[in-house]
Symmetry: C2
Subunit: 343 residues, 2 copies
DNA sequence: TGTTAGCACTCAGGGGCGTCGAGTGCTAAC
DNA sequence: GTTAGCACTCGACGCCCCTGAGTGCTAACA
């Protein structure tokens, strides 16, 4: 593919991303200074179509890029946009104004990304269960209940009200906490060894108390990892995309966005790959083969925390999405650290 | 208004709620057994229009109810639907499956209501600041930070990571907690008297430590009462309403739903009124004068907790919305109590 | 006097049709 | 290899007409 073809392809993709209308040869001749006439561009476009980079609804409608065309554009033609300092400070201000607690980071990140890109944003939060147990403490609530507070090395803090078995005192609970802290020290929450349970069993003789202890642990665990782990943003933003002009189309994608398991699967498939773009038919899942996904994984001190992604029509501002996610990539760690994650 | 007119009005409202199409005289004659011909019904409908209960887009389109018409229907004609036992157990199951922590009750309630009614649901959660301070405890995190856990009488538990001033030890923090617990005992969080602050000041000599104490208190306070207090559900459900067939209309209402302050204002206006219906033009806010709102306030042991509401087009299944909210009214207390709210 | 049948009238929605404009593909000339 | 020219295609738009649902009015009926 010679250079002129590439410039034509680039022109088509850029114009189509901007206008959402099929692009014709004259438009390109007018708006891009290629130094050749529409007729020549037409010839080039016909070639590009033969090569599979462009598509045609019918004769006499302009061209639109194919998945392959977008792919070539993203890999080679696109000039990477950089966030301006102003944009960066805006992002900073967003977090400072809205995020008060570590738990809110993920939802707000999703909101921010969707707001900037006008597409759906997905944030796969780190699994609490992947982080190491730090300590469990009890606080007295009243004579029959107390509050269990579980902390992990990653900085998660989880609280629960637990009923105390009749006859048990708050001191029993504190003793139980000491036992649990001893036995679970350093375990990651998703892989508590059987031995730890046996040890707890042997140290807590009272049956009811032992049950309560297990209850505390399991309830602390089963919370975050379920449906709370995926955060969505921008289901309203996409209404401004011309692709979603008719409500049926919107309903379709919203329905899909409700299937959390599916989304997690899609995101998990990209885990650990750094910044990655999946375009149109490259998607395995049929329902989004007219969409593209840009994913990035974010880290803290070298450890993988989770994935953030932008999901939108293939006609997406890839440069913008990628630079934003790229920045987030680095920036999220700072936010997380500032809010008390353990450094 | 004689009985036949009422029966005609009822027929028009019911049919229109069901079909979302203007209702004609023949349709009514066919579908409702009024014992008179379409011509007679036409005459009655003309009268009802004169009286302001029905409206006309143009000659020769069927009638649709006016706000006044809906009002008459809701107040007198509508047969109140009751939730079946099956529906009740479904609601119960919903909560048991999805709500693990008290904080999730509100979001899930919004989801449930919107799911059942296919309209937007709003849940105004109780203000944490309205409940009384119970106690503040610290847990050690590492050598420079600790976790503050604040509990209120209503059962809210709030945790925060706070930095310890250099030189301060965890024991200092525990002492501080004792002072604060003494001074704030019984205060409601939105009305901490100046005297309490003075007392804390006098007991904590270290300047930095005092600042940290204030920080803990204020941070615990400013959290829940802000944007976290209103929960929304069903922004996707409304897409299935024919009123929102065109995207512009959807965008309009979604935009409005983002204005939390406005929504809170609207809901707050209904606080304490029990079950209440506001129809179309009865709404003060212009943007929703083609919508209706059904609100209900929920209580626990006689104390007002918050408001739940259904927002949808005037063509709404009032009976269903009202019976659902009515049931929630009673039921929410149970859920809340089960999850550890103080009884 | 209330009810009904009949009839003229109205209006939205849908199909058919011609026009316009943007765009292509092909060919011949440069 | 590039370009101008030209025939062709197709969607969008506006126009017209038809149809069907519905009304309002009037006159006849019980």
């Amino acid at each position: 593919m010679d250079e002129r073809k590439q410039r034509v392809l680039q022109a088509v993709v850029q114009d189509y991303i901007e206008s959402a209308e099929p692009v014709g040869s004259r438009t390109i001749a007018r708006r891009h200074d290629l130094g050749v006439s529409p007729a020549t561009i037409r010839n080039e476009m016909a070639d590009l179509e033969m090569l599979g980079y462009l598509e045609h609804i019918h004769t006499s409608s302009g061209r639109i890029p194919s998945s392959k065309g977008y792919r070539f554009y993203v890999d080679g033609l696109m000039q990477p946009t950089r966030l301006t300092d102003e944009e960066k400070t805006q992002i900073d201000r967003w977090y400072r104004a809205r995020v008060k607690r570590i738990e809110e980071v993920f939802q707000e990140t999703a909101r921010l990304i969707s707001h900037v890109t006008k597409n759906v944003a997905l944030v796969l939060a780190p699994q609490m269960t992947k982080s190491a147990f730090r300590c469990l403490q009890f606080l007295p609530l009243d004579d029959r209940r107390s509050v269990a507070v579980l902390m992990t090395d990653a900085g998660f803090i989880e609280n629960r009200i637990v009923a105390m078995p009749s006859g048990a005192s708050f001191e029993d609970f504190q003793r139980m906490a000491r036992v649990i802290n001893d036995c679970l020290a350093g375990c990651t929450l998703d892989a508590i060894p059987k031995a730890a349970y046996r040890k707890i069993r042997s140290e807590i003789s009272d049956e009811e108390l032992y049950e309560a202890a297990l209850d505390v642990i399991s309830r602390a665990l089963d919370d975050r990892e379920g449906r709370n782990r995926l955060y969505l943003g921008g289901t309203r933003e996409i209404l401004s995309q011309p692709e979603f002009r008719d409500v049926e189309r919107v309903k379709e994608i919203l329905l899909m966005l409700e299937e959390e398991e599916l989304l997690k699967e899609i995101l998990s498939a990209h885990l650990g790959d750094g910044l990655r773009v999946t375009i149109g038919q490259e998607n395995d899942y049929k329902g989004i083969q007219d969409c593209s996904i840009v994913t990035a994984t974010y880290h803290l001190d070298g450890e993988l925390l989770g994935t953030i992604a932008v999901l939108g029509p293939t006609r997406m501002e890839y440069g913008k999405a990628m630079s934003l996610l790229g920045y987030m990539n680095e920036h999220l760690s700072d936010v997380v650290r500032r809010l008390g994650w353990q450094g």
